[in-house]
Symmetry: C2
Subunit: 589 residues, 2 copies
């Protein structure tokens, strides 16, 4: 092995302050070029780039070695820091260069199949296959460092707040809730399987029962589900649970964390307390339980206007008659921005949310134009438009359908349009809590299910409604939303056994089923369960939002592709028959 030149500095740090110093740098050759009798090499490590100069003051042998350097060769170089004649203002080290006195080649490199530069337009699959090259990009290393710093900040904060970081098991019981479990066949107990945990939920509650008081963990969770959107089979949660607290206590502690996070990692002052909006209001105003409040276009309901109440326009009439709604949004100054074609395109996109159409009204100086001119008089349009306080040049978009379709569609439309109009200001960080979620909802089969999970505590004042009107019961559940993305959420848990049993009864979970799925938790609850509550953040998503990235893949070291494959290591792979025999399983041909 060639000798090792021990580094004195990283490649991104030298400035004019260092002129005259003797330094040693190690790194990768980003670029090498000859200029007359000089050789220049850009030397890169995760912190940045320093220009190295080789001239005739070095031994011939060393100069020839410098001549042989190519991209991604790994070298060590010692030399003197001097001022550059032609400075590079785009580089933090751009005022200086290192005049080399010694050069060691640690490793040559074949021509890399991808460029090591931040904004290359390379196919994701290629980036994933050559992830160890992709990670050399300064942006990727900055993201990893940022993530490290966020985790450190979180750990420091929660440690000061009395949280204990505790590891929960990875080989757990399969309880298919939510997504599918990843299974792990047991060799010692053939025919039996572990699962990988979808979250540490049950174990963190056992830690509370066990007196741990305040628990924290940054932990991998696993969900075997379709990876559309931006999902990974394994993802990371920042997970917490507390004893002897209520919702306000949990929220207060999180707000302290978020304030510190934004102040130290983003240089942004968040003022506390954060806004809180009840679920019902979030749906009413924004059509979403994770509203983006960086812009307006709030939803308004038109059900009670004379124009709509009495209309014979079939779309509105049917919606109202079938227990649905007619709601709309008003885009300030939107009429000139959206042509008929644009609106048609938006309508097409909205169909993905269940809408069969979108009604538009253009507010003009001298009246109203609309896709439903035939069905409403100008006076009726005036009434509708006044609900929005609309003015000339505004554009109103209306959806009429079942409430869910209306909310989803308009919720989508307002965000989509805000995006088109450039209103998604990435220098704004609008945090808010959504609280008072419904306890229950009805699934497609019309059965009552728990909106969060069966251990969520109903709001104290709604407990009487459990017997009379369960769908009206709200939960002590809270989500933290940033710019329209759910960053985390949690709830107060039920610790009273009678109440828990009532929950199971309402959900139609038989004693047998509750025993099978949650038996051990119910057993634990017999022995003195403290009031407890908790929350979990999706860490990958949080880092993505804070770094302004588009995908969680940009903030993880080794993500998988959409087929759940690790392209860099070619996993999953076939295994030896012997391995399967030992486990007592076979693959169905």
């Amino acid at each position: 092995m060639s000798k090792l030149l021990k580094r004195t500095h990283m490649c991104g740090v030298l400035t004019k302050e260092n002129i005259g110093e003797t330094v040693t740098l190690n790194g990768w050759v980003a670029k090498q070029r000859s200029l007359g009798s000089l050789i220049f090499a850009d030397l890169r490590d995760k912190t940045g780039i320093t220009q190295i100069v080789f001239d005739d003051t070095i031994p011939e042998e060393t100069f020839q070695l410098a001549e042989s350097l190519r991209s991604e060769y790994v070298i060590g170089v010692s030399g003197t820091v001097r001022e550059r004649s032609s400075k590079n203002p785009d580089l933090p080290t751009g005022d200086i260069e290192v005049l080399a006195t010694d050069l060691v080649l640690y490793s040559a490199a074949e021509t890399p199949p991808i460029y090591i530069k931040d904004d290359d337009n390379v196919d994701m699959n290629l980036r994933l296959k050559y992830r160890y090259l992709d990670l050399r990009k300064l942006k990727m290393q900055r993201n990893l460092t940022f993530r490290h710093n966020v985790c450190k900040l979180a750990r420091d904060y929660f440690d000061q707040q009395g949280f204990t970081e505790v590891e929960t098991p990875m080989l757990v019981r399969s309880t298919p809730e939510g997504a599918r479990d990843y299974l792990v066949p047991s060799r010692v107990n053939k025919g039996h399987f572990y699962a990988l945990p979808q979250s540490p939920q049950l174990f963190k509650q056992l830690l509370m029962v066990g007196g741990t008081d305040r628990y924290f963990q940054i932990v991998k969770c696993f969900r075997d589900e379709d990876l559309r959107a931006d999902r990974q089979p394994e993802f990371t949660q920042m997970d917490l649970e507390m004893s002897f607290v209520d919702q306000d206590d949990v929220i207060a502690i999180q707000e302290g964390f978020l304030q510190k996070l934004f102040r130290e990692m983003m240089g942004v002052e968040i003022s506390l307390p954060l806004p809180r909006i009840r679920y019902d209001e979030a749906m009413e105003r924004y059509g979403s339980d994770k509203p983006d409040t960086r812009f307006g276009f709030e939803l308004k309901c038109l059900n009670d206007t004379e124009a709509v109440k009495a209309t014979e326009f079939k779309v509105f009439r049917d919606a109202l008659d079938q227990g649905g709604d007619v709601r709309g949004i008003c885009i300030d100054g939107g009429s000139p921005e959206f042509s008929r074609k644009n609106i048609d395109k938006l309508t097409e996109e909205t169909k993905a949310y269940g809408a069969r159409g979108v009604v538009w009204i253009r507010v003009e100086e001298d009246g109203f134009k609309s896709s439903v001119n035939k069905f409403f008089t100008q006076e009726e349009f005036a009434e509708i438009v006044s609900v929005f306080d609309a003015k000339p040049k505004d554009l109103i978009l209306i959806v009429a359908d079942q409430p869910k379709v209306v909310f989803d569609s308009l919720g989508f439309l307002r965000r989509r349009i805000a995006g088109i109009l450039g209103l998604l200001d990435n220098t704004k960080f609008n945090l808010l809590w959504v609280v008072d979620f419904p306890m229950f909802e009805k699934n497609e089969e019309g059965e009552i299910t728990a909106m969060h999970h069966p251990f969520t505590h109903p709001k104290e004042e709604d407990i009487p409604l459990l017997d009379t009107d369960p769908l009206a019961v709200k939960a002590d559940a809270y989500d933290i939303v940033l710019n329209g993305v759910e960053m985390g959420g949690g709830s107060v848990r039920i610790h009273d056994r009678a109440l828990q049993q009532k929950m199971f009864d309402i959900l139609g979970i038989s004693k047998e089923e509750s025993q099978r799925k949650f038996g051990f938790l119910l057993e634990a609850f017999k022995y003195g369960t403290p009031p407890h509550a908790g929350l979990a953040y999706g860490l990958d998503r949080m880092i993505m939002l804070l770094t302004g990235e588009e995908s969680i893949r940009e903030v993880m070291a080794f993500p998988k592709n959409q087929n759940a494959q690790c392209l860099v290591s070619d996993a999953p792979n076939t295994v030896d028959d012997a391995q399967l025999e030992e486990l007592g399983i076979t693959v169905i041909e």
Copy 2:
């Protein structure tokens, strides 16, 4: 839900300084008793116990509630701190008690099946099944808190040293090295499997190739092997890797960590640098590659004594003639401590290490007694004994066999005897590095295998021996040993492709096999690999050693039993046929 009394203090903190204050505590009733018109309750949380007193100054209703309290009921209590008349010097809070003014019952509790006290003698399986009760013991919570603090200290230290904490994947490629892999069937790629990682070795090297420079992670690792001794299917490593460093750099940084660890967590000053002992010397002197240096009884070789060289005593003769050794240890003052029966028992125990017998020599004032009186004269015994500088009352134990059997047997004997004689001083923390491990060893089939792994860098000066005498080649590998237990280890890695290929050739790993097992790492090494080296600590073992526990089970929240079962959640379990069908696998009946 009953109202929540918001805590002002934990249960283990109030002292005379707090007398007169109004406080609120939450916790579990450890004990409740009536004494005349008073009720006393010991209120416990993870920090300790405070005595609560209920007298007639509280409402009747509250008093009756206090009377109804039983073990492990969860309560909140407010009151005034006052001095105790009869103090409890064994309790940190023993000078005071809280005279209750308010009491809330959060949860009743059934009689717990295990006692919540530190030194109960309960069956491990019961403790594991009721782990959420077991964790209420102050010792268990102290262990979890200690572990938390060690991890925090480590993270703070390595962060300051420029390490980035990066998460490596859990769903990886199956490459059956070392132990068996736990497999995870893929649903999206039926017939294909992921494995759970035995360690992040390959990915941390990819991070180095990717320019991450210094990597750190506290991470779960998985090995599907027999759980004899003190092993868990999932265990935790503190894992590190560094670029542009040599062995001395890695060791220096670890020593800084260990010094800080012992100073801040144990109140013990470790003086640096730590002792380093070469593998060969460790074996020669201690019979172990993880020597416990808290006591003597060093091995001595008798091969070259006249008495042994020329002996006709079959056991010694055969050993020497077959390339084995005759070695022994001398127990200072051991002769009176060990009767014939004791020695016979020790001999039986030693047979587990391959020894067929143990020869003993008692050194007496007037001569020598021995189990091989017949075969050696007193003069010959004198020669043998002088090798040990033995004196009257000393006991010499000798094993003759193949070197491995001799080392293993005597290594065992010296530790065993030290334990019997009370020499395993748990206030001593003898740390040392074992370095210069052999690069290769021969397995039972006589094949050459890598002692650590095929990526370990041979010592620079031994590289020429690779071609001529591979078994003589030493590696840049290092283990950190504490009191005879290997706490961690690592090596400098090979980054030169030609050298790596030579390694594979020596190990008889064909190109096909190396591609199949390590293909992606070899591919990565083509593109500019920095010199790199790393290390991993067994975190569970480290915490166990530092807390003085006997088993890693005492320092993990939810360990499994020896059948790899999670008794608290009853895992692994059978799963629905539907789940298996989705994965395209079946269980062999």
